[in-house]
């Protein structure tokens, strides 16, 4: 596991613990806890666990299977969004347009589907359009030389606006996500008598089950995507060159890394994952909501997940696994606050405070792990 979660090799080497050479740092000989902490995302793992333990002590409903299912839609979409964003952030860039892709792709999917194209091809075309937008983001950043913050902010507004224009601002039902209800007679035994009662059962199609409506659908998408992208980041030339560009752009270029190509490719990936989440969420909810403010909130949570998970805004360092744990932490916070019965008006307030407190703890855990005080 350590070699998978280790991300860039600096931490991989510390966690792997092989070889007779003297250890470069003092902590990494001290057993399993120190090993977890030596991972880049180690400290946030500890913070997430502490948060989960707190809520399970405070509320009896937290550690239940049912609650795990309610937790899923909080963190699975964020995980996928943050996983793509990590690839851009390691470059030292940022992609704000994921909010727009999240909004735009289900609307485009709806338009294509109602124009008579069948479901899966509609999804594919919508995602290809998102990838094209990503390529444009990458072009503006890597070739034209506009700061990615500004370029993707422009694209965020442009495509949120375009989403409102083509949807006329009206919510629609997601194609392929229709719910069919059937009634079945279920046998019950009451006082030794067998009686039959009618119950209503909801059905969704196979397409919807795969693309977000199934209970574990988004979760499985998230796990598969995290696995693939973390593998790409740690064990392929693409991942290595991504870290190289973020760490030393000039040096990477001198060594022959094609900075422009990798930058464009990572923006394409980021837009693709955002577009996919948009469709998954629309299918899960059963409706497409042209709501830019909701999309912007998702955008902030996704970037927060990546940063909380240890990805540096300055680039050169980060992991996809960290993004997953960051999203999980945010999901636990939201879900736990709801279970505690926090007044809806206070929820955001507490959420904000909890993030600040947790991140402060995180910094101190990191310092302890490094064995000195320079954070």
């Amino acid at each position: 596991m350590s070699s998978v979660t280790g991300g860039p090799p600096a931490s991989e080497s510390q966690a792997s613990g092989e070889g007779p050479e003297p250890r470069a740092r003092s902590f990494d000989t001290h057993g399993p806890l120190a090993r977890v902490l030596s991972l880049r995302e180690g400290s946030i793992i500890v913070v997430a666990i502490v948060t989960a333990v707190y809520f399970s002590l405070e509320t009896s409903n937290f550690l239940t299977g049912a609650n795990f299912k309610t937790l899923l839609p909080y963190f699975a979409p964020l995980t996928i969004l943050a996983a793509g964003e990590v690839f851009v952030m390691i470059l030292g860039e940022i992609d704000l347009s994921i909010g727009a892709m999240y909004l735009f792709s289900p609307i485009l999917f709806y338009k294509l589907s109602t124009a008579g194209i069948s479901l899966v091809p509609s999804v594919v075309i919508a995602l290809l359009c998102c990838m094209a937008v990503g390529a444009v983001n990458g072009f503006f950043t890597a070739v034209v030389g506009i700061s990615s913050f500004v370029a993707t902010l422009g694209m965020l507004f442009t495509f949120e606006g375009l989403s409102l224009i083509i949807s006329h601002g009206a919510p629609v039902n997601t194609p392929g996500a229709e719910v069919h209800q059937t009634t079945v007679k279920v046998e019950h035994v009451v006082n030794g008598h067998h009686i039959f009662l009618t119950e209503t059962v909801n059905h969704v199609g196979t397409f919807a089950k795969i693309f977000g409506a199934g209970t574990y659908s988004e979760f499985i998408w998230a796990i598969v995507i995290v696995f693939l992208l973390q593998t790409a980041l740690t064990f392929t030339r693409w991942g290595l060159h991504t870290v190289a560009i973020g760490s030393n752009k000039l040096g990477a270029a001198e060594a022959g890394v094609s900075v422009r190509l990798i930058t464009i490719r990572n923006f394409v990936l980021c837009s693709l994952t955002a577009g996919l989440v948009g469709i998954l969420e629309a299918v899960r909810a059963g409706s497409v909501q042209p709501d830019p403010s909701g999309a912007n909130e998702i955008l902030f949570f996704a970037i927060a997940s990546a940063v909380i998970g240890g990805t540096l805004l300055a680039g050169g360092s980060g992991t996809v696994i960290g993004a997953l744990i960051g999203a999980l932490f945010l999901g636990i916070l939201q879900d736990g606050l709801i279970l505690q019965g926090v007044n809806a008006n206070y929820k955001l307030f507490y959420l904000g405070l909890a993030i600040i407190v947790a991140m402060t703890v995180n910094v101190y855990v990191q310092r302890a792990r490094r064995g000195h005080g320079s954070g």
Partner: protein, 277 residues
């Protein structure tokens, strides 16, 4: 950097060539906005030769190296590799044609391990799934570093943790370890202690004895130049002003040229100031 309308230096080396040239550079010029880095550079490199390139800060040495290495394009002039026109489209392209470079800033990635840096852009991957062949890269890195004789205890640590000399050694080892037959070394001894420096010079001597590769090396220390190089070229104000076999020159002559150049530049500055005043 040289000023565009600087007075021409008296002795400018014209294009010269030898029958066994692997690389020829003719009439290369390069400007960066108002600054002319290279005015008219002529240079040739024979097979198996070690050419020392001398010059003050801002004389255009690094610009010349970056042009040959494919990192940037010249404004005018031509380069020839083994007699054929040589127009690299990038560092990768130059490398595929057999020219590999140690840049002045070393082009190392702090976040990556020693062995990933050694194989940056030349990574070994498995087949058919192209995952990094880390074990093979570690093994070959260890062998390469041992051959050079550089002591780097752990090759799986990030290069950020290594000393300046160790980092430089890795950058040199990376280039020497490539399949290139022309090596460009931009100040390969800059951050090194005496021991590490002599190790690199030994390495260069060994490569010279093997005769497979040809080397252009930027150095600051004249003693090193006379010790390690077959021939020395001096670049001043964007032109080559001296081209001599090292056994026909001396530290004294090289020093004199530089001092004269310094005097000339000061006089010119003074006359310009008078003209303005």
């Amino acid at each position: 950097m040289a000023v565009a309308d600087a007075q021409p230096i008296e002795t400018v080396v014209p294009p010269t060539s030898a029958p066994d040239d692997v690389l020829r550079v003719e009439h290369i010029s390069k400007r960066f906005g108002p600054v002319t880095a290279l005015r008219d550079v002529n240079l040739h490199l024979r097979k198996g030769e070690v050419l020392g390139l001398l010059g003050d800060n801002g004389s255009g040495k690094s610009t010349l190296i970056k042009t040959i290495s494919g990192f940037q394009k010249q404004d005018s002039g031509e380069m020839f590799l083994h007699g054929e026109p040589y127009r690299p489209r990038g560092v990768d392209d130059a490398r595929s044609q057999g020219i590999d470079t140690v840049f002045q800033d070393l082009a190392l990635i702090d976040e990556l391990s020693v062995y990933h840096n050694m194989f940056l852009c030349r990574e070994h991957v498995h087949h058919p799934i192209p995952l990094l062949a880390n074990r093979r890269m570690k093994r070959e890195t260890r062998t390469a570093l041992d051959e050079i004789g550089i002591n780097i205890p752990r090759i799986d640590v990030a290069v950020a943790r290594l000393s300046g000399g160790q980092r430089q050694a890795i950058a040199v080892a990376r280039t020497v370890n490539s399949d290139a037959d022309i090596l460009l070394l931009d100040e390969p001894l800059a951050a090194m202690g005496a021991k590490e420096g002599s190790m690199i010079l030994d390495l260069v001597a060994r490569l010279k004895a093997e005769g497979r590769v040809s080397i252009i090396m930027i150095l600051h220390n004249y003693v090193h130049v006379l010790q390690a190089c077959d021939r020395v070229s001096m670049i001043q104000d964007g032109v080559i002003t001296l081209d001599k076999p090292t056994n026909e020159t001396s530290v004294e002559e090289l020093t004199e040229i530089v001092v004269n150049e310094y005097r000339r530049a000061r006089e010119q500055e003074r006359s310009e100031r008078q003209a303005q005043g």
